[in-house]
Amino acid sequence: MRTFTFIAITLLAGAIAGTILSTINQGIVEPFIEKAIALENQKAMSSGEMINPTQFENYRIWQKGGEIAAGTILGLSLGALFGLVFAYARDSIPASSNKKKALILAVIMLFVLYIVPALKYPANPPAVGDPATISYRQSQYIGFLAISGFSALGLAFLYRKLGKDGKHEAKKILVPAIYGAIMIVAYAAMPPNPDPITAPMDLVIGFRIASGFTMGIFWALLGIILGTFWDKLKPHETTRVRTL
């Protein structure tokens, strides 16, 4: 593997996908965040807190700029993980091109790292989470995410160990079934989010759909971009030798 090319395309794919994510979020997710923050402000003002509208508007512009930067950083970091997993898993994914292989892996990673954790601890807009419980909620989320991620990783090794020779066709049902069983037990065992939802449910559900939609776009883009780079630059090819 050519190290520099591999690292460069991995990080570049992540940065591009992450920046696109944060840019489309400005139009798709931000309207829900704005509504939720307006509710928070109403609540704060009704309890006697003073909010300067001009100052607050400038603060929100600063936060939206931060979202763009955060998208790039998050894209870089998830891209780094995706590139590593793809480098090790590429040979085991049945598809005719690296672009198709990367897209298949991206869908699996979206499922394991976003959709499954969201079934237990779904995305919430501002106005839902209590600042006093943030550390507890983070530990819950990390715990469930780790169970999902490491279970999938371990089962991927098992899937590979069972071989490609067709003797173990049952693995195609067995391995996903084991993952499903682990996550059902984890779902039942882990405590629920401690914060009650006091915001309107149409706002919360709309936010969750918007978040899921843009995260789906992000993972698909990450797969397509890295797969395209991989097909073009072939970082796994170290040398080309002349044959007789």
């Binding site: 931060g66 955060a70 993980l81 995305a123 501002p126």
Partner: protein
């Protein structure tokens, strides 16, 4: 680019330890900064939000606030 008929590509699937280390550092730093930092990384510094608040304010959390929500990560 396609190979000429008289050439063959030598391929390796192994990833160098250096690449693994660099990418894991990027992963850990980025996910922690955007997803979970509560002032641990830049908490010592003066806020960059123009508020004039003293150092120790959790401004990095506020800066990444919207993406944290949008990515489904826990936030206040």
């Amino acid at each position: 680019m396609s190979l000429r008929n008289d050439q063959a590509a030598k391929t390796t699937t192994g990833v160098s330890k250096k690449a693994v280390a660099i990418l894991l550092v990027v992963l850990a730093f980025g996910v922690f900064m955007v997803g979970f930092d509560q002032g641990e990384v830049f908490g010592f510094s003066v806020p960059a939000d123009g508020s004039g608040s003293p150092s120790g304010t959790n401004w990095a959390h506020e800066f990444y606030h919207d993406m944290r929500h949008a990515a489904g990560l826990p936030c206040h």
